[in-house]
Symmetry: C2
Subunit: 245 residues, 2 copies
């Protein structure tokens, strides 16, 4: 139940614990809270079931307390990193959930494209900002992105994560990194065969994913961009496009 004092969180799925497959927390056990809804619509979105409004009937409006109870149940009450993802989790009211979890020793990582900022970003433990490169067909509003950094007030551990499909994306990644030299950079080769909603066990071009990873490693090392980390989506290598693992 939700009310004015406890605004509801639009939830697509809550699952785990499993390991984080990407970026700065790669390999760390985590419970995922994937929210529904997004202000973007990236051409290669790999979470359309949490983005496309056609699937909104699969989303559930849950109170912070209900979300919290689910996290507790999945983690057995043992403090764990909670990964807030989406869709764009920044458009959901997550401040109360974070406060509640912190009271019990849990930590919270949020990943967002940086289009919407919230004051509670400063309460996060980890904030991953993932601006979307040209191949996404989205346009980055850098003023909105800057507002996310300002809201965070340097309190969470922060990182830039950039998906790279091609040379244009790579150039965008270098520009973004130059714009925020204080942020560690994680580059991730794109998946040209993302899951289609309702067909999450579908074909994945693993050889293509690997080739793109090799290409990116080669590009970064030849370019002597020695501060950037290059990491694949570990969960894709392990489990393909399967959901909930």
């Amino acid at each position: 139940m939700t009310c004015a004092l406890h605004p509801g969180i639009r939830v697509s799925e809550i699952f785990g614990p499993t390991i984080q497959g990407e970026g700065v927390l790669i390999g760390l056990p985590t419970v995922f809270v994937r929210t529904g809804g997004c202000d973007y619509r990236c051409s290669w979105c790999d979470s359309l079931h949490a983005v496309d409004r056609r699937f909104r009937h699969d989303w559930e409006m849950m109170s912070p307390d209900a979300v919290w109870q689910k996290v507790i149940a999945l983690s057995g009450g043992q403090p764990v990193m909670v990964s807030l993802s989406g869709g764009n989790p920044a458009i959901q009211p997550l401040g109360q959930l974070i406060d509640r979890g912190h009271g019990e020793g849990y930590r919270f990582a949020l990943e967002t494209q940086g289009s919407v900022s919230k004051q509670w970003f400063a309460d996060l433990d980890v904030l991953v900002l993932s601006p979307k490169p040209p191949s996404s067909e989205m346009t980055t509003d850098w003023a909105a992105f800057d507002a996310c950094l300002e809201a965070a007030q340097d309190k969470p551990q922060m990182a830039l994560k950039l998906v790279v499909f091609d040379d244009d994306d790579y150039a965008y990644a270098k520009d973004a990194a130059a714009r925020y030299p204080q942020l560690p950079v994680y580059l991730q080769p794109g998946n040209h065969t993302p899951p289609r909603p309702g067909d999450e066990d579908g074909f994945i071009d693993m050889a293509g994913v690997m080739r793109r990873m090799e290409w990116l490693v080669e590009k970064v090392t030849r370019d002597r961009w020695f501060e950037a980390r290059v990491l694949p989506q570990l969960h894709v290598l392990l489990w393909g496009n399967k959901r909930g693992v």
Copy 2:
């Protein structure tokens, strides 16, 4: 050329830049300096060409300056993380190399089993201690291991890295982590099909590596060991047993 003032470093291979495939620096571009010789002989060693004395004729005694010139050439003079590995790099005189590199903005990460300590551990930027579990058929001398931590004086970033093949290894990893609660833990599934020297492009049981990774993720999450990170050897997933990448 080496002399009393500049003791020689026994080098198996120097290569890169490529990305670090394991542990705390996974994904980071790095130049590897792999030293020759080891006081251990793990049953599943994946670097026998740098361990087994049968291959000592492939090793080269190099002055710190000669090693440094090679690192400079590979990195184009652009500061990069240098990964000191082996064999056991702790049995080599690496202090001067580290000083020299620091003077030019390079950083140094060393990985060792923790059997031999050196005062210059305190000069490292990253120290990965990787005690060997029962499946290695080695016995850990914890007093020697403690001496490594003492030598480091908490100055480098430090981490525990533990290879896990089976339940006994897992129990050993939990014990080691409990012994050093201040150190972040990285668990790594073992590779049952390590390269044989001279046959580095040989068969690798990739499905087995993946199964062991899934088993380890399952074990850690069911056990609610939420502080431990689980990471595969990324270079093995990308390049199999091929050397020099």
